[in-house]
């Protein structure tokens, strides 16, 4: 393969020229999200999962549940641990090894969108105050990187969390833990949806492909909750003007219901 950065340089002028004339290489409008598909089937041993594609980008998200001790400052809340793996099979530029700063940034941004919107009822995940709570491991796996992995992760996380069923755990009076046969649905209170924009010249584009990402001057990720509030923002590389950020937020809010509908139809969310 030609080095990605060189390829970007070669197609860069073309993408910029297209952007200046209001077009994108794949024919999409600037505020158009690529096709979202949720692959039917079982792919993991997780308590909740989703294999999501966003155009040619593919991710697999799995939710595993366990029990453990709560953090001292939140004795009555469950624990959410978000982890991103940018697998070397997803891109020739991804190397095996522990998560790098990009992976950790993505994991934390998705995590903040969930917390910022109170998407999971963490209080319902306490078993015994200060002693035992459910721990939710959200593992996000990049399989194929054609740009905007982070939105794919966020979508996959929502579907996976909404599908999560956890065995009921009880603690007896003498402190013994019992794992029951019956399960309960992970209590989901909100559906924060994440929208990533890039800037090429003056153009603001939603859901960039890899080529667009590599050419971009700046990137920002915005999450909107179900009542239209902004619940997390991460300016990533580059810089934006104030009016551009306001425009991005307003586009994100206007796209919310469209993406939510796709999630409900394809992901079977209630």
């Amino acid at each position: 393969m030609l080095d990605e950065r060189i390829t970007a340089e070669l197609v860069g002028d073309y993408i910029r020229e297209l952007a200046a004339s209001g077009q994108r290489k794949d024919g999409r409008a600037f505020d158009e999200v690529r096709e979202i598909k949720i692959r039917p089937g079982t792919f993991t041993k997780a308590e909740g999962e989703a294999w999501v594609s966003l155009g040619a980008t593919q991710v697999l998200v799995g939710v595993k549940a366990d029990v453990g001790t709560p953090f001292p400052d939140t004795p009555d809340k469950g624990v959410l641990i978000s982890n991103v793996e940018l697998l070397p099979l997803a891109s020739p530029t991804f190397e095996p090894g522990p998560p790098d700063e990009n992976a950790i940034e993505m994991a934390r941004v998705v995590d903040r969108a969930l917390r910022g919107s109170n998407a999971i009822d963490m209080e319902a995940l306490a078993i015994k105050s200060g002693e035992l709570v459910y721990m939710i491991f959200l593992d996000m796996y990049a399989l194929d990187h054609d740009g905007n992995i982070i939105d794919a992760f966020a979508l996959g996380s929502l579907v996976a969390l909404s599908r999560t069923r956890i065995p009921v755990v009880e603690v007896t009076e003498d402190g013994e833990m019992i794992v029951k046969e019956e399960t309960f649905d992970l209590p989901i209170r909100d559906l924060p949806i994440t929208f990533t924009f890039i800037k090429i010249g003056d153009a603001l584009m939603l859901d960039p492909t890899l080529e667009e990402e590599l050419v971009s001057d700046a990137a920002i990720t915005i999450s909107i909750d179900s009542s239209g509030r902004v619940c997390s923002i991460q300016k990533r590389h580059g810089s934006f003007r104030v009016d551009e950020i306001k425009r991005a937020v307003s586009i994100a809010r206007s796209k919310y219901s469209e993406v939510e509908r796709i999630l409900r139809e394809q992901g079977g969310l209630v």
Binding site: L2, D3, I6
Partner: protein, 255 residues
């Protein structure tokens, strides 16, 4: 055994004699790595090996190509491995002293070494910097050290302006076509400035953004449908249905 029998039926046009090869596939059959292609006195061509028992087998996914005295496989998958005489399009990745390193979309980076004693214009051709796009010829490649590239010759050297499209290198023969037929078609309909590197890097200089978008569509179609016959007709239909044909295009293509 089953495959042997059915192939004998298909190959009934072949007269089987004692000293004649037994061909086990039909021409243009899709073949897989390890698949037996023939037994007996026939030359193994590209991507064919002879196993311990003398069976000729494919090394790749591809199409069987049976010729007089030779059987070879036209691959449908694989990255670019340089061959002497190939034209390639690459980008200059590094200039170190007298050596110019060129990324040619291969596991083997190419090297340009300017000949000694050049002056004036002839020397200026070698003033290349990282990021420059060049059209070069593979002058020498021993399979081990970096392939030696040459930009001496008509049209070789730095490519200015234009755009690049990357295609799977195995599809390059289809972009060029039999006796350059596909390339001529593209030149006549979409503009004469197109260069197809054997390494899968295609450079073209479109007349407009619309031409560029159509060229991308056309090349994507060739890449995807390369192994299905009747490709030229389908490409022509795609170009004609786009409705952006330039009446002057055909004249330009004949230059």
């Amino acid at each position: 055994m089953e495959r042997l029998r059915s192939s004998e039926k298909r190959g009934k046009a072949l007269k089987l004699g004692r000293n004649e090869p037994k061909i086990l596939v039909a021409n243009r059959d899709l073949v897989l790595p390890g698949q037996p292609l023939a037994v007996g006195p026939i030359r193994p061509g590209d991507y064919v090996y002879v196993d311990k028992r003398g069976v000729l087998r494919s090394t790749k996914v591809g199409l069987a190509d049976i010729r007089e005295g030779e059987i070879r496989v036209v691959p449908l998958a694989g990255s670019y491995i340089p061959r002497e005489g190939d034209l390639v399009v690459g980008t200059v990745s590094k200039v170190a002293g007298n050596t110019i390193l060129v990324n040619i979309n291969s596991a083997y980076p190419g090297v340009i070494i300017p000949p000694r004693g050049l002056r004036g214009r002839a020397r200026a051709k070698y003033n290349l910097s990282p990021g420059d796009l060049v059209l070069a010829k593979i002058k020498a490649f021993d399979g081990v050290s970096a392939p030696l590239l040459s930009i001496e010759g008509e049209g070789l050297g730095k490519l200015v302006g234009g755009r690049v499209y990357m295609i799977n290198p195995t599809r390059v023969p289809r972009v060029i076509g039999k006796r350059q037929s596909m390339l001529m078609l593209l030149k006549s309909k979409l503009g004469p400035e197109i260069v197809v590197g054997q390494n899968g890097v295609i450079w073209y200089n479109p007349k407009s953004l619309k031409h560029a978008l159509l060229m991308e569509q056309v090349l994507a179609k060739i890449e995807r449908e390369s192994h299905v016959s009747g490709l030229s007709d389908r490409v022509l239909r795609l170009i004609e249905s786009s409705g952006i044909l330039d009446p002057r295009g055909s004249e330009a293509g004949e230059v």
